[in-house]
């Protein structure tokens, strides 16, 4: 433990019986209290801003950034096509793994020991494996099982060559979803466990059918804690989709990689383009997240938190009124 040392107040500053002359209790009590100032914060902020500006300056003074080429590449058909693939693969995997996550989470929470063990095993397996391993494994499925089919065991079977129905995109989405479901199942499970036991009991006591208990009472409340964690997962998924490059799918990152080897002199602007697009995607998701969270917060607080716009307005109004207060003082 370190000893807490504080500078002593000047003598009498904390005593009412030794007020300076000309000041009475009434006057003292009627003035606004001066908030504690934090001068060190300003010093640190100034240092940080100077450092950031220094770094920022190099963005413009260092010609190697080649900003002029960024707009050209930014909307180039190849990049947009890669972006489309990233969006498509992420969107499908996000939806599949959300639904799948609910199913696996319910499996783990089920009273049926076979179901809960199977779900646990699934989560254990796919959380253990690196996504890239899963993807490359799937990609080689054609070697492992050249054809797939169903039928009567040891009897007649229907068979299709694996390659014909498992295109790289389908394989990629399956790979992303398989591993994502394992994580989202845990996210969903934690959300369900966070719902008060009394809610389950009230739903039971009202005789609500089990499906309705879950969909109407438990899940909407669980979503409050599921949404932030799940959006995290989706953002991770966007970035994880860059691994599709290794199974010969040209997503945003893959396009940048291959363009970079075709146009080695443009590698920096291409990386900037990829950076900007990933930033844009994540920002868009964060905005959507904010409003989804607001929706599921209804009823959980007496008043909903302000939207960012309302917050900015309030802060400005606050600054204005303090400024007015200072000039009055």
């Amino acid at each position: 433990m370190t000893a807490v040392t504080t500078k002593p107040l000047e003598p009498g500053a904390d005593r009412l019986d030794s007020l300076p002359r000309g000041i009475d209790l009434k006057g003292l009590s009627e003035r606004t209290v001066i908030p504690l100032r934090h001068p060190l914060r300003w010093v640190i902020a100034a240092i940080v801003v100077i450092l950031l500006l220094n770094a920022g300056q190099t963005l413009f003074t260092n010609p190697s950034w080649e900003w002029a080429k960024v707009p050209e590449w930014f909307f180039s058909p190849a990049i947009l096509k890669g972006l489309q693939l990233t969006l498509l693969a992420t969107a499908i995997s996000a939806v599949v793994s959300f639904v799948g996550g609910i199913v696996v989470a319910l499996g783990r929470l089920s009273g049926n020991p076979v179901l809960s063990t199977l779900s646990w095993l699934y989560i254990w397996a796919f959380r253990s494996l690196p996504l890239i391993l899963v993807l490359i494994f799937l990609f080689n499925l054609g070697n492992l099982y050249p054809a797939m089919g169903v039928g009567v065991p040891f009897g007649p079977q229907v068979q299709i060559p694996t390659i014909t129905f498992l295109s790289p995109l389908v394989l990629g989405v399956i790979g992303l979803s398989l591993s994502e479901i394992a994580y989202s199942a845990e996210v969903v499970r934690s959300g369900i466990l966070a719902v008060d036991q009394g809610q389950h009991e009230a739903a039971k006591a009202l005789g609500l059918p089990q499906r309705r208990q879950f969909l109407r009472i438990v899940l909407p409340q669980a979503l409050r804690s599921i949404v932030p964690a799940y959006v995290n997962q989706i953002i991770g998924l966007i970035k994880a989709s860059s691994l599709l490059f290794y199974v010969s799918l040209l997503d945003l990152f893959g396009v940048v990689q291959s363009l970079g080897s075709t146009y080695p002199t443009d590698i920096i602007p291409l990386l900037i383009v990829a950076t900007l697009w990933y930033l844009i995607l994540t920002s868009a998701i964060s905005v959507v997240q904010y409003y989804i969270e607001r929706f599921y917060a209804r009823g959980s607080m007496r008043e909903l938190p302000p939207t960012p716009l309302q917050r900015v307005r309030r802060t400005l109004a606050g600054i204005r009124s303090t400024a007015r207060g200072n000039t009055l003082a």
């Binding site: 009991e201 009230a202 039971k204 006591a205 009202l206 005789g207 609500l208 059918p209 209804r298 959980s300």
Partner: protein
């Protein structure tokens, strides 16, 4: 008088801890029964066993002669599938100590939820819910969310929610224990209006005054068993058992 609720040999333990030791209780239809007892006496467990929120190890509960949560199989009782139990529960209202309103639904939606699930049209459910909310004095709160209401108002909504299924029996599990003292009266007032309406009420409570005023039958429980029961004046004014006397002197002190 016919019996609305018949409890026979209700026995329950959690691990080595026995919470109900073969409780027998008959509740006449249309009457008000108040169950008193120190905490841990098993009174809440008994109440929850009536609508099968709590499964009994031995014994059974019958509502108007119909077994709840179990059926006869040979010479034993066998648990019913959850689906059938849920249908039986809809005939028994339950009011919780902590209200357990659905926080993400409006007051009106809280009350209409169960009737709509039962297949009643949304419009009819809403009309009836509004009548019920007016009856508990909350007609103007239908669009609010539970957390925007005081504890007393929430409990009144919970009572309206229980009434919406037109249950034959309503069970109250310490309905005023989570309330600030000044809000207890409004909830007891609503419960009072339900007496004599033909519904059978069973109330677990610590409100001795309320028991004296509205109860037809008072049951005192301790350590998982019924110690004594009778009219309010028997049990509350002339308790015969030492444990009842001790409890009453503590509660009334």
């Amino acid at each position: 008088m016919t019996a609305a609720i018949d409890i026979h040999n209700a026995t329950k333990s959690y691990g080595d801890k026995t919470v109900l030791r073969g409780v027998d209780l008959t509740v006449a239809a249309g009457t008000v029964t108040v169950i008193l007892g120190p905490s841990g006496s098993g009174k809440s467990t008994l109440l929850r066993a009536i609508n099968h929120l709590e499964k009994l190890d031995e014994g059974f509960v019958a509502l108007n002669g119909e077994l709840i949560g179990v059926r006869v199989k040979g010479d034993r009782l066998k648990e019913l599938p959850e689906k059938r139990i849920l249908r039986q529960r809809a005939r028994i209202g339950f009011v919780f100590q902590n209200f357990n309103l659905f926080p993400h639904l409006t007051i009106l939606e809280n009350v209409t939820e169960a009737p709509i699930a039962q297949g009643i049209s949304a419009k009819r459910a809403r009309d009836e819910a509004r009548t019920l909310l007016a009856r508990v004095g909350l007609a103007d709160k239908e669009a609010a969310y539970p957390r925007q209401l005081s504890g007393g108002q929430q409990q009144r909504v919970a009572i309206a929610r229980a009434l919406a299924l037109e249950p034959e029996v309503i069970l109250f599990d310490e309905p005023t224990s989570a309330l600030d003292p000044e809000l207890v009266g409004e909830v007891l007032g609503v419960i009072r209006t339900l007496t004599g309406s033909g519904k059978t009420l069973i109330v677990v409570t610590h409100e001795i005054g309320f028991a004296r005023e509205v109860a037809d039958h008072v049951v005192f429980m301790d350590e998982g068993a019924i110690v004594e029961q009778g009219t309010p004046s028997d049990v509350l004014s002339h308790p015969r058992h030492r444990r009842t006397q001790d409890f009453l002197s503590k509660v009334l002190a």
